[in-house]
Symmetry: C2
């Protein structure tokens, strides 16, 4: 029965990997130690491979730098961004686990209103293991939470819900603003703790942030491609947005849910708005065409797997967004390469060919 | 600039009416006195006209009983439910104000987490006066609230938002559950204060509850018809649901927003689940067809006013829902009668023909 369960949340120790782009901040892992130490970490280094990332004692991890990515993927490594945290999606690809949690190294443990440390991972697991409700809005938010349920007027046939593919967590302190908003509101901090998890309705797009994100890799993994950003690309800071648009359209098509809300992390510092503006400004124009594109995408019935959906989407990107800028032609090709690489690494006999395991 | 405004919320004393179905509880108005005393009340008595409703000193009100409704509407009074709180929609019709707030007499002033009395009306006014964002989901909820804004990746062209037609408030203590859920979870109480207001995305239906509801009557008033319930009808407790489905489809068509979330009221007592089950059970079946019907409704471009939309909807109800039960044929006719009566009372020379003014 919805809302009635009070059983403890499973840890999923052997079913979940934590993927982290370059760790520049030594405090980061120490702060998360009580929550992360029992999990396997996949660290993907975005910059100079000769620099060494120091991981404190006691963590179980594998670390990939650019040389590893090139060695493992060969020519297909071209689909993985360089000098940009978008490279983290390589970690999704080499993981063998069912679930992924990814977090940025400037995100710390937040406190709930009772001043208790928030176990972000536990809340993500709750979100992922309980169904989602994309087909009708429940005004008391997540009907599967303790103390909540479906309200009067919610159709009974929809109360089983659908599998949850994505759990999108939020940020206290520094909100995830674009450069123009950062510039206009340099002192704004998010101090509002909204005690809710909700399913983003079917047919509705949302801005997916990669700072504090978990997903069911077995369901939606092949669509979690963070695009071409950073070195040599005309755009940055749209890696997670791109993934979010693709993921949402595919989840809607395949009947899965995307949740947003809890858990919060503490986002410690704002990135430089001037640098951000340079990375973003093309995206700010382009998204005015990209959003209507994704809002109008209809995937054919034959697209019964994420891979098929994603390849179809790559064709539509080429056709509909290609005319905006040659970048989208390159991105469309990279989307195909990504799927090829994913399938290669994740086939029955697939092997990630010797990562730098600890 | 979104989120930057800290100006006080206008009272809208001369622009808002409070509509209350029969007041059976003498404490009700006393408890709300500090918040309601400066507003005009419209009380619509649902039962025996010979019974007198005692309104405490100091309130400015008009009271309508069944005899008044019959006298004012003549044969068109048939569209107003009898012996059911659905009759409240008569109050929307006779009001001359721009905004309506409607509340049930078992709803009291709730407290926020800091133990302060919640001024529900003030929050509804905030919700109604700020734009809504139905075309793209903002993960930090209402971008127009203090301390919030649009997040990275939110298209700039959509940041002006659209006019807000409806503000749907929530309930602490007794949640608004259907009879089966009441029976299964008799002790469940809602103690979760979710500090959020959000726009229900375009294309998404929701269960609108009439307990704590405000709307822009000039925008959406003619669609706020609470249907045929109570005495002589095969169904009850679907009055607000029916209005919510119609209103949402029309708001989506005309480009207006519907918000839900804050403010909370304290819902003091659960209605009898056995009585409720009797009222609801047909609705529980029927809604399985009604929801897909409303999800698939497409209003033609020519429907440029709420009235035109509503008449069109009445035709579709007759055609698509009529085959389920003759009740829907009657309802479809009542929808037309409602619009005729609305237009009659609200035309330039329209006059409510002498209500029992205080």
């Amino acid at each position: 029965m919805a809302g009635a369960s009070v059983k403890p949340t499973p840890l999923l120790k052997d079913e979940l990997d934590i993927v982290i782009p370059t760790i520049r901040n030594l405090d980061f892992l120490e702060m998360w130690r009580p929550f992360f130490e029992q999990y396997h970490l996949i660290i993907v280094q975005d910059g100079d491979p000769s620099k060494t990332i120091k991981v404190p004692e006691g963590f179980d991890y594998e670390l990939y730098n650019r040389n590893d990515i090139n060695r493992i993927l060969g020519p297909k490594a071209s689909c993985i961004s360089f000098k940009d945290s978008a490279c983290r999606c390589f970690g999704y690809m080499v993981s063998k686990k069912k679930y992924i949690f990814t977090i940025d190294d400037d995100c710390f443990v937040a406190k709930d209103p009772s001043d208790k440390d928030i176990n972000a991972l536990e809340q993500h697991i709750k979100n992922l293991l309980s169904p989602a409700t994309p087909n009708f809005f429940n005004t008391l938010y997540d009907p599967y939470r303790e103390g909540a349920d479906f309200v009067r007027g919610y159709p009974f046939s929809l109360r089983e819900g659908v599998p949850t593919a994505v759990s999108h967590g939020l940020w206290l302190n520094i909100p995830d603003y674009d450069a123009p908003t950062q510039l206009v509101k340099p002192r704004e901090r998010n101090s509002r703790y909204v005690d809710a998890v909700l399913t983003i309705p079917k047919g509705t797009l949302f801005p997916m942030c990669g700072m504090n994100l978990a997903f069911n890799r077995e369901l939606i993994g092949p669509a979690m491609y963070f695009g071409l950003m950073g070195d040599g690309q005309p755009i940055g800071r749209y890696d997670d947005m791109w993934a979010g648009w693709c993921v949402k359209v595919i989840c809607d098509h395949l009947g899965w849910g995307v949740k947003t809300g809890l858990p919060y992390i503490w986002h410690s510092k704002a990135s430089n708005p001037f640098v951000n503006l340079k990375k973003e400004y093309k995206g700010i124009f382009w998204q005015e065409d990209i959003i209507p594109f994704f809002q109008s995408v209809v995937l054919p019935k034959e697209c019964t797997t994420v891979q098929k959906c994603y390849i179809e989407l790559s064709k539509l990107v080429k056709e509909k967004l290609g005319p905006i800028d040659p970048y989208f032609l390159k991105l469309s090709e990279a989307m195909v390469t990504w799927i090829e690489a994913w399938d290669e690494l994740n086939s029955a006999g697939g092997d990630s060919n010797g990562p730098a395991k600890k």
